[in-house]
């Protein structure tokens, strides 16, 4: 099976995947890229207030074939109700 590489940015750091993982086809690699986002969000939201997580998938030739981003968007709706920092 061909290898696919998953470069992940969590808002603070980027990990470049040097090892790669085997998947049957690009579709399966896409599914894996989407599935990892909740894992990352769960960890990082526990540890920090980072709000945007991106996975870039490369194939064996180094071509970027897929990107998935998970973002959390928050806003105070009434400035008067916002707690002081």
């Amino acid at each position: 099976m061909p290898l696919y590489y998953f470069d992940i940015n969590d808002g603070a750091r980027t990990t470049h995947d040097e090892e790669g993982q085997p998947f049957a086809d690009p579709g399966a690699a896409r599914d894996a890229a989407i599935a990892v986002l909740p894992d990352i969000a769960r960890d990082e939201l526990l540890d920090s207030d980072r709000r945007s997580f991106t996975v870039n998938v490369r194939d064996e030739s180094g071509r970027h074939i897929f990107r998935a981003t998970l973002s959390l968007v928050t806003e105070w709706l009434d400035p008067a109700g916002r707690p002081p920092n």
Binding site: T15, Q21, V36
Partner: protein, 242 residues
């Protein structure tokens, strides 16, 4: 080589030379099992208690959608299914991870060990209680720690468990688990395991090459993992009430 099961049980009770000879005799017949083979499957009614003398194994459960959850790992000296002598049917499966040297101990032998040798009975009871404590810690791990700390915690625990039976591995040991197995253990995807391993490496907390794990600074890794070895109960209770 010292028998790892005896090394381990000595943490649970003051075994006499006679106790140790009895335990040694129980391990006389060994068999070799290849890697990644089921030792026993959920639903079976085993006739033996199995013991790992060499290698790594794991307890797991399968979900209906085909996913696997590894709920414990076994190292040399660990009994696979001591409780099955009492409970009967297996409520989970056990498989080898690496090639393993195993011992099969018939139930009536276990019964005799317990009824005739009070210190061995105490040590086996201790081993069962420690297994429970490990599970409690693992519940906290899965529920409340990030995957990076979860994995770091696993390394710290494995180090203590291996050291208490092999008396080496202070700063590193053979770590045979694949990223897929780690993902079954940690409850995250293999892609996330890969990322977390890389971060632990980049942060200088671990070295991992050719299935050899290195821990350059044990105190630092333990602090990162919030690891406190108390739950492994390697310090024997004094005085003993056997």
């Amino acid at each position: 080589m010292a028998n790892p099961m005896i090394c381990k049980l000595e943490h649970g009770a003051s075994l006499t030379d006679e106790d140790k000879a009895v335990l040694e005799a129980v391990c006389a017949e060994t068999r070799r099992v290849p890697p990644r083979v089921d030792l026993i499957e959920e639903g079976e009614n085993p006739r033996f208690v199995q013991l790992v003398l060499d290698g790594f194994a794991c307890r797991y459960k399968m979900l209906s959608d085909g996913r696997r959850s590894i709920v414990a790992y076994l190292v040399p000296g660990d009994f696979c299914d001591l409780h099955v002598a009492i409970l009967g049917q297996m409520d989970h499966s056990i498989a080898t991870v690496t090639g393993c040297t195993m011992v099969q101990i018939p139930y009536d032998t276990v019964e005799k060990l317990v009824s005739r040798h009070p210190r061995i009975a105490r040590a086996l009871w201790w081993a069962t209680l420690v297994d429970e404590a490990v599970l409690r810690e693992w519940l906290v791990n899965l529920g409340r720690r990030t995957a990076a700390r979860r994995l770091a915690h696993l390394f710290c625990e494995l180090r203590v468990r291996l050291m208490s039976v092999a008396h080496d591995g202070e700063n590193g040991f053979h770590f045979p688990f694949t990223q897929e197995e780690l993902s079954h253990m940690l409850g995250v995807t293999p892609v996330h395991v890969n990322r977390v391993l890389q971060q632990l490496r980049e942060d200088g907390l671990i070295l991992l090459e050719d299935k050899m794990l290195g821990i350059p600074d044990v105190a630092r890794l333990e602090a990162f993992a919030e690891f406190d070895a108390t739950y492994l109960h390697r310090a024997r209770r004094t005085p003993e009430f056997a």
